[in-house]
Amino acid sequence: MTIPIEYYLILSAFMFVVGIAGVLTRRNAIIVFMSVELMLNSANLTFITFSSYLGDSVGQLFVFFVMTVAAAEAAVGLAIIIALFRNKLTVNIDEINILKW
């Protein structure tokens, strides 16, 4: 572990920012969802980096929990997208505005 810790943190920050840009620019609900997964993964990279440089396994434990939540979120979110597609025949998030008043 001769690499400075900043390299990992900057890579993680860059991936998070790419995820933000993906969420804000894409209109396909599935790609928006994949960008959220990308942001979760960049947070995981930060967790593992600090866990490894501090020599403490609790950070890796939390990555394990984040993976659990991401799996649950993917299952429920994709089921919601399928249900929306059945009702409106689109995955464009600009046209899915029934919750807007």
């Binding site: 991936m15 960008s35 866990s51 995955v91």
Partner: protein
């Protein structure tokens, strides 16, 4: 240049480039495949950080299970006019890139201002032990047993929720 640095540069370039390609490709299937590549290179980075268990779990859970679910749903839904989906308001796009650049500048400023590599020294021996499945399992079943049970309950709730949501009949 050490082997560790070379491997880090390779994996970092793969993960950064595949992340950018993921949000710019028109076809959602290709986006999903680039996301899988990104997850795989992240698993390589986890191995460089002595986190073997999480690296394996990353490949199995993320690149395997979750992305198969995504690919299933992409192929299940009728492909739309992607050109129409790409027609985003120009102002929205500019706003999105400005927000992204501001967040990146803020994060980079914090990372370099705090100087974590000066204030903390790497615990190499401890980190080799911390990444083993033995150390993680010990923590999981002793100090973090309640969050572990809660995670199991969350997965059960998500399974039932996904079934209920996706079961509804066509009208």
């Amino acid at each position: 240049m050490s082997l560790e640095l070379i491997l880090f540069i390779i994996f970092a370039i793969i993960s950064a480039v595949s992340a950018v390609l993921m949000i710019t490709r028109v076809n959602p299937i290709i986006s999903a495949l680039f996301l899988i590549l990104n997850f795989a290179s992240l698993a390589g980075l986890y191995l460089l950080l002595n986190a073997q268990f999480i690296a394996v779990a990353q490949v199995i859970v993320y690149a395997g299970a979750i992305m198969v679910l995504f690919l299933f749903v992409i192929m299940l839904l009728k492909p739309e006019h992607e050109k129409k989906l790409l027609a985003v308001n120009k102002n929205v796009k500019i706003f999105a890139y400005i927000v992204a650049a501001l967040v990146f500048l803020q994060l980079a400023y914090m990372i370099f201002f705090a100087k974590p590599s000066v204030s903390m020294n790497a615990q190499v021996a401890a980190s080799i032990h911390a990444g083993t499945i033995e150390a993680i399992g010990f923590e999981l079943y002793s100090n973090y047993i309640l969050p572990f049970e809660a995670a199991g309950f969350l997965l059960l709730a998500a399974t039932i929720g996904a079934l209920v949501l996706a079961k509804k009949k066509f009208e």
